[in-house]
C-alpha cells in the first residue's frame, strides 16, 4: 500500500524532527511512504478565521498532491480533521478526488491502531510523560474518548504509548481540557489563550512529568512556549518521536 505523507506547515518549518520520526516510523512498520514535495498547508488557519472562501487554491493544491495514494497519513489530529471535514475541489471534475482523500486520510496514531493494527512496537522512552488530549483529534476524529460523554473509555494514542518500554504515563487532574492554542485564537485572544496554556502546563507540572506529549504539535508548541518562558526543564515531544524512539 502507498502512503502519502502530509506534514503540517508548522511541523515542516519548525519541528522537522516530528516529520522525520513519522516517516521513519511508518517505514519501519512496512509502509511505502512518499512525501509530495508540492504540499504546503491544509488551509485551516484561514478557514477557522472565517476565510474558508480564500482556501480554494490551498484545497486544489492539496487534492493535486495527494490524489492517488492508498492512504494519507498526518502527524496532526487538527489538520487531518480539517481535511476530512472541509476538503473540496474548486472544479467539479476534481471533486471525486477530494472526496476520496477525505475518506483515506488518517491521523498517525489512528492509522497505526486501525489500519496497520500495530500490536507491538520496538520503542523505548523511560520517562514520566503527560499525555495532552488535543481537542480536534479527540472530539473530532474520536481517537480517544472524551470525558463529556457517558460512554466507555478508550485511547488510540494511549494504546500505542503503552507499548513503549519504560514509559510512565501520568493521570492529569483535567484529562481533556483545551490548551488554548486554537489557531489564530492564540494571538487574537492572547490573554485567554495563554491563561489556558498556563493552566494545562500547571496540571502536568503538578504531576511531575518530564515530557508532555500529544498528537498535535500546535498544542505542544504553545505549551512549549510557556514552559520555556517559565524556564522549566519539562520538554514537549510529539507522539511520533516517542513511538520512534529506540535509545
Amino acid at each position: 500500500m502507498t502512503v502519502g505523507l502530509f506534514i503540517p506547515c508548522y511541523v515542516d518549518q519548525f519541528y522537522p524532527q516530528v516529520g522525520i520520526a513519522t516517516l521513519e516510523l511508518l517505514e519501519k512498520l512496512g509502509c511505502k511512504v512518499h512525501y509530495p514535495f508540492g504540499q504546503t498547508c491544509c488551509g485551516q488557519p484561514m478557514a477557522n478565521s472565517g476565510y474558508e472562501h480564500l482556501a480554494h487554491s490551498c484545497n486544489d493544491l492539496f487534492v493535486k498532491n495527494f490524489d492517488g495514494f492508498d492512504y494519507i497519513v498526518c502527524p496532526s489530529g487538527s489538520c487531518t480533521l480539517h481535511i476530512k471535514d472541509h476538503l473540496h475541489a474548486t472544479h467539479a471534475q476534481a471533486e471525486a478526488s477530494a472526496q476520496s482523500i477525505r475518506r483515506k486520510i488518517y491521523e498517525l496514531s489512528e492509522f497505526l491502531t486501525d489500519v496497520l493494527k500495530v500490536q507491538h512496537l520496538q520503542a523505548r522512552f523511560p520517562y514520566k510523560v503527560g499525555m495532552h488530549q488535543s481537542c480536534h483529534g479527540q472530539r473530532g476524529l474520536h481517537i480517544s474518548q472524551m470525558t463529556e460523554l457517558i460512554a466507555d473509555g478508550y485511547s488510540k494514542p494511549g494504546q500505542l504509548l503503552n507499548m513503549v518500554e519504560g514509559i510512565e504515563l501520568v493521570e492529569l487532574d483535567r484529562k481533556d481540557e483545551c490548551c488554548g492554542f486554537g489557531g489564530t485564537f492564540c494571538v487574537a485572544e492572547e490573554a485567554v489563550s495563554v491563561k489556558m496554556g498556563k493552566d494545562r502546563v500547571a496540571d502536568h507540572l503538578h504531576h511531575n512529568v518530564q515530557y508532555i506529549t500529544g498528537v498535535d504539535m500546535s498544542c505542544l508548541m504553545h505549551m512549549e512556549g510557556i514552559l520555556k518562558r517559565q524556564k522549566s526543564h519539562v520538554k514537549v515531544v510529539h507522539i511520533a518521536e516517542i513511538l520512534n524512539n529506540q535509545q
Binding site: 518549518q13 508540492g38 488557519p45 472530539r139 473530532g140 492572547e190 495563554v194 512556549g225
Partner: protein
C-alpha cells in the same frame, strides 16, 4: 451603556488582569461541570436521552407553526390570555400594558432570560414601575446594577465578601458578614415581604406544552411559585422555541435539565401551570425577537433547541477564563455566541471567535446542538458579510497567496527562519502578540521538506 471596551478580546483581557480571581472563577465553574458529569453517570441511558431530546426538539421546530396554534387554543380554553410579541419592544409594551390595566406599579419577577434579552427591567423602570428580581442571584446583581453573567448562576462572578458588603448596604446585614446562610436568610425575609405585598408576578417559562396548553417553570428557590400563587396577575414570558409537543416529553427534558445545569437530579420545584387561580389572570407573552429568522437559517436553526441549562458555559475553557460579561450579551458563552449574531451581526461579530473550537460544549449539550460547528460557520458568514477587520483580510489574503504556491511557501519559510535565527529580536518583541507571554519556537536550519529532498537526492 458603560464606557470602555465592548468586545470579547478586550473584556477578556481585562478579566485576566486578576489571575487569582480568574482561577477562582474557573475552578468554581469547573466544579459545576464535574457535578454534571457525576449526575449524568448515574443515568446509564444518558446518551440515548440526549438523542431523544434532540429529536423531539428538531421535530417541534419542523412543526412549530401548528404546535403554536395548538398551544394557543389549549391555553385559551384553560383561561390563559395569550399575547404575541414580534420583538423585544413589543414584549415590553405588552407587559407594561397589562400592568397599566391593573394600575400596578410594583411587581416581583423570577428568573427569565427572555426578559433579560428584552431589557424589560430597564424599560419598566423608565415607566416608573418597580421590579424586584426574586431569584437570589438575580437580586444580587440587581442590587449591584449589573446584568447576570451566567444564565443559571447569575452572580457566579461575585465573591461572598462582596455580596456581604452589598447586603450590608441594601438589606442592613451586619458589616463584614459573609456567611452564605446568614446572607440568604436576610434575602429570604426581605423578599418574603415583597411576595406578600405585591400583586403582580412575572415568571419565565422553561417548557410549554402544545398538547395541554400548560407552562412549566423550574426553580430551586420556590420564588416563581411564591410570586405567582400570591399574585392577582401572573405574566409568563416565553420565547416561541420553548414549546414541546406533549406532556410526556417532560419526562425526557426534566431528566436532562437540572443534571446538565447543576448536577442535581431535578430542580426543587417543577411547577406545571394549566389554569389561572380563580379570580387570577394568567397571561403568556409569546416572543419572536429574531427566532423566526434563526429558524430560517439552515446552519443555525438547531440552536433553537436550547433549553437554557448553561452546561456549555460551565464546560467552556474560554468562558471560565473570561467571565459572562465579556460576551456583552444577555446570554453568554458558547450558546450566546451562536444566538446573538442572528440579532445583530455587527455588534456580536466578535463572539464566534471567542473560542478554540474545542467541541466540549457540543458534547455536554443535553439537546445535542452542534455548537462548535455553528461557531465555525458563523465565522464564515460574518466574514462574508464584511464584519472582519480590514487588516485581518489583508493578512489572510497574503497567507492564501503564499500557501497556494509551494515555491513561495518554501522560500518564505526558509527566509523567515533565517531571520529568526540571525535577528531574533525581529520577532522576540512587544509587537508580536505571541511573544508577550510565550517564547517563540526555535527555528531549525532545515525544514522537513528540505531534509526529505536531501534524503531522496542521497538515494539516487
Amino acid at each position: 451603556m458603560k464606557d470602555g471596551p465592548h468586545n470579547h478580546v478586550d473584556l477578556a483581557e481585562q478579566f485576566n488582569a486578576d489571575e487569582a480571581r480568574v482561577n477562582w472563577h474557573d475552578e468554581t465553574l469547573w466544579w459545576v461541570r464535574q457535578k454534571r458529569d457525576k449526575a449524568a453517570w448515574q443515568v446509564p441511558e444518558w446518551e440515548q436521552l440526549r438523542e431523544m431530546a434532540s429529536q423531539v426538539k428538531l421535530h417541534t421546530l419542523s412543526n412549530l407553526h401548528d404546535y403554536l396554534v395548538q398551544f394557543e387554543q389549549n391555553a385559551q380554553r384553560n383561561g390563559i390570555t395569550v399575547h404575541w410579541a414580534a420583538d423585544a419592544e413589543e414584549h415590553n409594551t405588552i407587559v407594561h400594558g397589562i400592568l397599566q390595566k391593573h394600575g400596578a406599579k410594583k411587581l416581583v419577577k423570577s428568573k427569565s432570560m427572555l426578559t433579560e434579552e428584552c431589557h424589560l427591567n430597564e424599560y419598566l423602570h423608565e415607566q416608573g414601575i418597580d421590579v424586584i428580581d426574586t431569584d437570589l442571584g438575580e437580586r444580587i446583581v440587581q442590587l449591584a446594577g449589573e446584568g447576570p453573567s451566567h444564565i443559571v448562576l447569575p452572580c457566579i462572578h461575585w465573591k461572598k465578601e462582596e455580596i456581604g458588603v452589598l447586603f450590608h448596604e441594601h438589606l442592613g446585614t451586619p458589616e463584614g458578614c459573609a456567611d452564605p446562610q446568614l446572607l440568604t436568610n436576610a434575602a429570604r425575609l426581605d423578599l418574603r415581604e415583597k411576595f406578600l405585598t405585591r400583586r403582580v408576578a412575572i415568571t419565565g417559562v422553561n417548557f410549554a406544552i402544545a398538547e395541554t396548553g400548560e407552562l412549566v417553570v423550574c426553580t430551586n428557590e420556590g420564588n416563581a411559585d411564591m410570586g405567582a400563587h400570591l399574585a392577582d396577575v401572573h405574566i409568563a414570558c416565553m420565547g416561541i422555541e420553548k414549546l414541546i409537543p406533549q406532556r410526556k416529553h417532560l419526562g425526557v427534558f426534566l431528566r436532562l435539565l437540572a443534571r446538565s445545569a447543576t448536577g442535581q437530579p431535578i430542580t426543587t420545584y417543577s411547577s406545571h401551570f394549566v389554569k389561572p387561580l380563580p379570580g387570577q389572570e394568567l397571561h403568556i407573552v409569546l416572543v419572536d425577537n429574531g427566532r423566526t429568522t434563526q429558524l430560517g437559517r439552515e446552519d443555525f436553526r438547531s440552536s433553537l433547541k436550547c433549553i437554557r441549562c448553561g452546561a456549555c458555559m460551565n464546560t467552556c475553557p474560554v468562558y471560565r477564563r473570561s467571565g459572562g460579561h465579556s460576551y456583552h450579551n444577555a446570554i453568554a458563552g458558547p450558546i450566546g455566541a451562536i444566538l446573538a449574531p442572528n440579532l445583530d451581526m455587527k455588534q456580536y461579530a466578535d463572539l464566534p471567535f471567542a473560542s478554540t473550537l474545542c467541541g466540549s460544549c457540543s458534547n455536554v449539550c443535553p439537546v445535542k446542538i452542534d455548537i462548535h460547528q455553528q461557531l465555525y460557520k458563523w465565522r464564515q458568514v460574518l466574514t462574508q458579510e464584511g464584519h472582519s477587520p480590514a487588516a485581518k483580510t489583508v493578512a489572510m489574503k497574503g497567507m492564501a497567496a503564499v500557501l497556494s504556491k509551494p515555491g513561495v511557501y518554501r522560500f518564505s519559510g526558509k527566509v523567515g527562519r533565517w531571520f529568526m535565527r540571525v535577528m531574533p529580536w525581529l520577532v522576540n518583541n512587544k509587537l508580536n502578540p505571541w511573544y508577550k507571554q510565550r517564547d517563540m519556537p526555535a527555528p531549525p536550519k532545515q525544514s522537513f521538506g528540505e531534509w526529505y529532498k536531501n534524503r531522496e537526492a542521497g538515494k539516487k
